[in-house]
Amino acid sequence: MTQFAEGITQEIADSHLPRDEYEKAVEILGRAPNLVELGIFSVMWSEHCSYKSSRVHLKKFPTTGEKVIQGPGENAGVVDIGDGQACIFKMESHNHPSYIEPYQGAATGVGGILRDVFTMGARPIALMNALRFGAPDHPKTRQLVSGVVAGIGGYGNCVGVPTVGGETNFHAGYNGNILVNAMAVGLADADKIFYARGAEPGQPIVYVGSKTGRDGIHGATMASAEFDDESDEKRPTVQVGDPFVEKKLIEACLELMATDAIAAVQDMGAAGLTSSSVEMAGKGQVGLLMDLDKVPQREDNMSAYEMMLSESQERMLFILKPGKEQIAFDIFNKWELDVATIGETTETGRMVLTHNGETVCDIPLDPLAEDAPMYERPWARAIPEPAVLADELSQPKDYEEAILTLMVSPDLSSKRWIWRQYDRHVMADTSASSEDPADAAIVRVHGSNKGIAITTDCTPRYCENHPIEGGKQAVAEAWRNLTAVGADPIAITDCMNFGNPEKDHIMGQFAECVEGMSEACEVLNFPVVSGNVSLYNETNGFAIPPTPAVGGVGLIPDLSKRMGFGCVAAGDILMVVGDTEGHLGASIYLREMEKREDGCPPPVDLAVEKRNGDFVRGEIRKGSIKACHDLSDGGLAAAASEMAMASGTGLNLVHEGDLPLHGWLFGEDQARYLLAVDEANAKAIRKAAKDAGVPLHVIGIAGGDALTINGMIDVSIADLKAVNESFMPTLMGEAE
């Protein structure tokens, strides 16, 4: 017979915990939980904080390597970039909040991921954003795009961290659940990283940042609940971001971190005060005693429950070394930020909270963490679809029209309308951003000649049709993009966006994507150092396409050797690295021209991927390549169009052999790069390829002002630009 504490009904209990988890909580406490305790169990055991559905699978990720300083488990991953410096990065989702309130949802997503990075002692140097919206003609799409983009810009621009790149897809599969994934990258000295671990008993717990209000209470549990049409009503108070406070918080925290005052630190993210304090206590194996009356409060008579679950933004929790409080107080007062000692660490191993002089919570910490539910949910393998090769498809009647149709399509069209609203240059270290012809963004390591290359990648339509190949491809494309700018790929972060894990086929998509990603990380020596899971992206039973977004980071040792695809001159020889079989399954061509979305995506041969990539990177370092562009969405036709538009120089391609022309032009075969090589170097690079056993095909010569194929097909650069730039303004109702 279930027991309840005073004032708790079955209904209240159910609204916080599944019944088996409730019983577990009773067991842990040896009594029925009160409302505060119930709230704490419910957020700590929510999908968002406990990873209860995904943990068993995430374990498969390779997370170590000679460059990995800190893998998953802290606020962000940390990798070694030489010279005693470290690069810190993480990607996180803010999908549900952004659907409900696009501007604030996206803005607070940026704020949250920035905190994960500077919490570790890093100065943020770059932001990226991976966005997925519904169909362009869906009634909500325009307003969602407009709000999300304004929110990302509004926050990132104000804090003064450049937003240097990202990706944007449109597909009906996201009509009811858009995806807003933000990535932050920072720099720190490798010996000056700060962790959530490190607390010892008898140390002061210091709260800094904004005051606590009733914002987003239960956001953490909401982020783990499926939508239905009433969600608009059920929403908690939306969190509003304050980038001005965040900017002051960054400067103040970095100032404090330059001193020797900190034992442990956590940002207050989802489930704010609860998860930040519990995480630090758990990692330091200490107890907590906090007096909630001391918490800076924005609103009158807030309850203990509200304070512990509030998701007010721009707050941090420090555990300081004894006697160092004044140092912190002076710094935060200078920056006009709230700061208060709200408790201390203890030896009890329990989380004890007092409010108005009464004890309102007393939970043993170890079980709260260790007995957190972990599910091995049943999952089903996807049924592989057959490959779609060119010879099964009739050729397009008009190739010129086909090329223009691809270049105006939502996924391939220019996203200038979006990135024009992001400050890409603040901090004056941006070497390449959205506007520049390069496969990855590049940010100079301040005061050095090194560059950090950053990319986000995922091809959901591949994951939908073949989760394993799709998972591999997401990682492989990130690796390829970093390689194409001349970087040594180092490691990835990820953001696993899926539907309802309680359904076998959805859990199967998750498991198989992880399987594919893990294999790619292994072979490419490209470990996972941080990430985030967002499940229940599903409305009225319709799940999003599986979207394991990958954020890749690499190092360019010498910026003068970085590569792009804008420097092409008449007479340059055009070459393709890698073989083309003409895989059109799940391709953009199939979708845009045949209105079909079926078929097995192009297979990813990781050994070939590595061999071809290492060759390309080597030749870039030798200086034998003038322009390099990886082949992905839209195949050779898209890459060649983009190279022509970027360089203003025509490309004249010649197709030989019996592969049908549309397979050669639009096939999305992996592990390929389009190169422009100075004639003087052509011979040498071909010999080098031969020696390395890398297929290298001469496919044409640069010149003129159009993309031409076999002298017959002829699309002017002007026409390409006109259509390519037209999609976003038209979508947003701002076309001239």
Partner: protein
């Protein structure tokens, strides 16, 4: 040449400004916190950097415009010594009344970040002598409220006195008469929305901004 960069809460181009000044003069500027009431002894040049002082709340530059250091900046200007405000710094100079007009929300209502072609309108000033009149340069812009507004009288006066120093070659924000940068009557206070400090390095925004700092500070 002793320089000072004023740092307000929410400034975010203060480091960039310091880098540019140091690159040209060889000497790092003093970074002066807004709570100070005096500039460092012997300061020759004051720069108000870009950013979002006070989050751009209320009106861009309004709250910074009443902070403690401002009287000292005004005194510096009244003494005829050079003051440069870039982006948010320009907005602050306008709020303090050191420069005329107002900077309204961009006509598109969008924040706009791009490499903007500008025309140098008057190269006979201490801020622009490193350029030649009518030269086209490219300087990055990044702002939400750069739409310059003033009544016709003021605009005519600005143009008549050659106090419009830069114009946009293609107007990105709706500014009256394509105005991108102006000077005060005495010619020692200048404000501009574009970011010359983001154009001092061939690989990072180009070098078209260098001449501005060189005009003012003389190359190191």
């Amino acid at each position: 040449m002793k320089s000072a960069v004023i740092v307000f809460p929410g400034s975010n181009c203060d480091r960039d400004a310091a880098m540019a000044i140091e690159k040209v003069t060889g000497a790092a500027p003093a970074m002066v916190w807004h709570q100070e009431t005096e500039l460092p002894e012997g300061t020759d040049f004051v720069m108000l950097p870009g950013g979002f002082s006070y989050g751009d709340y209320l009106r861009c530059g309004a709250m910074a415009g009443v902070s403690h250091i401002i009287p000292a900046v005004k005194a510096h200007a009244e003494a005829g010594k050079p003051v440069l405000g870039v982006c948010n710094g320009f907005q602050i100079l306008i709020e303090t009344g050191l420069l005329p007009g107002a900077l309204m929300r961009n006509a598109s209502l969008h924040f706009v970040c791009e490499k903007a072609p500008l025309r140098v309108e008057n190269a006979n000033t201490q801020f622009t002598s490193g350029y030649s009149t009518n030269r086209e340069i490219v300087i990055p812009i990044a702002h939400h409220d750069g739409n310059y507004f003033a009544d016709d009288e003021t605009l005519n006066a600005l143009e008549g006195d050659g106090r419009v120093l830069f114009r946009y070659a293609s107007n990105p924000n709706g500014s009256a008469r394509d105005i991108a940068g102006i000077a005060n009557e005495r010619g020692n206070v200048m404000g501009m929305m574009p970011h010359p400090e983001r154009a001092i390095d061939a690989d990072h925004g180009g070098t078209d901004g260098l001449a501005l700092f060189e005009s003012l500070l003389g190359s190191a």
